[in-house]
């Protein structure tokens, strides 16, 4: 197997920035990482493929992403008012393919949340479709397969 370590390094660097922005609530900069046509998806069923016709935990197009950031930052949502910073760790990056300027990558992920009931952790498999954009990328699709999403979660006051 031939490894493109440069692409892996570029992708890893980009996704680390994406996670760092979310941990530090730099939500407006985070919005700039996206293609306007991009989709942010947290499926209920990890085996689903037709996300548009399936119930998801979140299925955000550009309009919904903007609304969600407004919700997270406006102070109108009581569940987000006291939300602390989160800690995301990622590892096991793997490039799945690189076709027509679109890189598909997946990695292991865990989000730790400082919640009033304790520290909660949400392990997940992340899948991205990244569109090449000059020397960097734009997110075409982010799918977060959070453990237990098909059984039960708690309510969430941030983005995975």
């Amino acid at each position: 197997m031939k490894l493109d370590t440069q692409l892996l390094a570029d992708v890893t660097a980009f996704l680390n920035i994406e996670a760092d922005m979310l941990d530090n609530k730099e939500y407006h900069q985070w919005l700039d990482l996206w293609l306007e046509s991009g989709l942010y998806i947290v499926p209920v069923d990890h085996n689903a493929t037709d996300y548009a016709n399936t119930l998801n935990v979140a299925y955000d197009n550009n309009k919904m992403r903007l609304a969600r950031i407004e919700r997270l930052t406006s102070g109108n949502a009581v569940s987000t008012q006291l939300s602390e910073k989160t800690v995301r760790t990622m590892s096991r990056f793997r490039i799945l393919d690189d076709v027509d300027g679109l890189v598909r990558v997946r990695c292991a992920y865990c989000l730790y949340e400082d919640n009033k009931n304790g520290v909660r952790c949400y392990p997940a498999n992340l899948q991205f479709k990244l569109a090449r954009d000059g020397g960097s990328f734009k997110i075409a699709e982010k799918v977060v397969k959070v453990m237990k999403s098909s059984q039960y979660l708690t309510t969430v006051s941030y983005l995975f």
Partner: protein, 428 residues
């Protein structure tokens, strides 16, 4: 006038549930919780599933009645059975996963095999049971089940009144609720499940609580366009809450959306303009388009069915008590069976917008419920107030007690049924 409420020496449900308030121990006392499982969940009709969740022979859903795990399954003759999820040999569950499809139920421990109707079909090495086991007596234990409008209920109490009698005045509202398929039968489209650290009755109350909506859901309302946000500004409107008997109640928030078959000639709301155009482009007649668009956002009311399900505007809300201070909620999305894809897709998107762990509504409800559980423990005044609207009650067209849309009439109805069931002797 000063009301004197005794807070000491409380020892029975009749002391804990008054006409206008309930005691905080109903949220926190483990002994009361165990008693609720016995006296309420083991003694009434408990909602388990919608028939569309079991589309084919062999389709099943697992659920619970109080502390009893059960299987809801459709057999080869398309009959629906509810059975205890417990092998008759040594007690292991014979069915796992929330939904699925199977040809039979086989215990993984020793291989006892049961048919879809629960009958014991075969077991390995039967010779050691010769003359001591009659297979006919060792099927999965069946639970009495009845359905109304596709809603499947079951009860552990064989002599309980028929389901339709129990639903009584709520049936009319179930019929109205089922019109939201836009001319197609109702079909479930998946669910969101989440748990919150609070007692199940906090959720039961919430479904009949319009008072909270513009306050806690400010974030959701601000994410809507002007026309839609005006629809949710219903506290000063003509809505009402009606006590339907047996603990059931209906809260009508948007009266003009009670009957989705009516007013089909009204202008298409701007927010559904794209959907209407897409449906028309697909060749649906003007009447079909209007019927679908009018139904896409659901009905204008929440029907609360005691003790564990609500037909809530556009979805089923099913509560599952886990412990005295933990509850699991299922928000089950609905659409039309055979309806245009664009219609069901829009309903799914609307559901995701408000409901579930990452919705724009549910997490704020969850925060409020969690705070009720925590804050209600404070101080020596142990009462949770339910008297909003009591001085302005009227009689509904159906002859029921009715209060304003933001009254607590529905909560009082539920707690009176609660009191009735909890006051039964333990032997029942």
């Amino acid at each position: 006038m000063k009301t004197q409420i005794k807070v000491k020496n409380i020892n029975s449900t009749s002391d804990l549930v008054l006409d206008d308030r309930v005691h905080k121990s109903l949220y926190s006392d483990e002994k009361i919780f165990e008693e609720e499982l016995d006296k309420i969940f083991n003694n009434t009709w408990v909602w388990l599933a919608h028939e569309s969740e079991l589309p084919e022979a062999g389709s099943y859903k697992t659920a619970t009645i109080g502390r009893n795990p059960v299987i809801v399954v459709r057999d080869r003759k398309k009959n629906i059975h509810v059975m205890l999820n417990r092998c008759r040999h040594r007690g292991a569950t014979v069915c796992e996963g929330k939904t699925g499809k199977t040809k039979a139920f086989t215990c993984p421990y020793h291989g006892w095999g049961y048919g879809l109707d629960g009958s014991l079909r075969a077991l390995p090495k039967p010779e050691e049971y010769e003359n001591i086991l009659d297979k006919a007596e060792f099927g999965l234990i069946k639970v009495r089940t009845e359905s109304y409008q596709g809603m499947i209920f079951a009860t552990l109490k064989d002599d309980l009144e028929p389901l339709e009698d129990f639903l009584g005045g709520a049936k009319k509202w179930i019929d109205l609720f089922m019109k939201q398929g836009g001319g197609y039968p109702i079909k479930t489209l998946g669910d969101h499940r989440f748990r919150f650290p609070g007692n199940w009755k906090i959720q039961l109350e919430n479904t009949t609580d319009a008072y909270h909506f513009p306050i806690i859901h400010k974030s959701f309302i601000s994410s809507l366009d002007e026309e839609a946000s005006e629809i949710f500004d219903f506290l000063d409107g003509d809505g009402f809450v009606e006590d339907l008997g047996n603990g059931h109640s209906v809260m009508v928030m948007i009266p003009e959306l009670v009957d989705l078959d009516e007013n089909l000639d009204e202008p298409i709301p701007e927010r559904y303009g794209d959907l209407a155009k897409q449906l028309a482009d697909e060749g649906h007649s003007d009447l079909e388009v209007r019927r679908l668009v009018r139904a896409v956002g659901g009905g204008g009311f929440n029907l609360n069915l005691f003790p564990n399900v609500a037909c809530s505007m556009a979805f089923f809300r099913n509560l599952v008590p886990i412990s005295v201070n933990e509850t699991e909620i299922h928000h089950i999305a609905l659409g039309g069976d055979g309806a245009p894809e664009a219609f069901n897709q829009k309903r799914i998107r609307l559901h995701e917008h408000f409901q579930g762990p990452m919705g724009f509504g549910t997490p704020d409800d969850g925060e409020a419920w969690e705070r009720v559980q925590a804050g209600s423990m404070a101080g020596t005044d142990g009462w949770i107030m339910l008297h909003r609207g009591m001085s302005k009650l009227s009689t509904s067209a159906d002859g029921n007690v009715q209060g304003a849309v933001c009254s607590e009439t529905g909560m009082r109805a539920a707690y009176q049924q609660y009191k009735k069931l909890m006051s039964q002797s333990s032997e029942q």
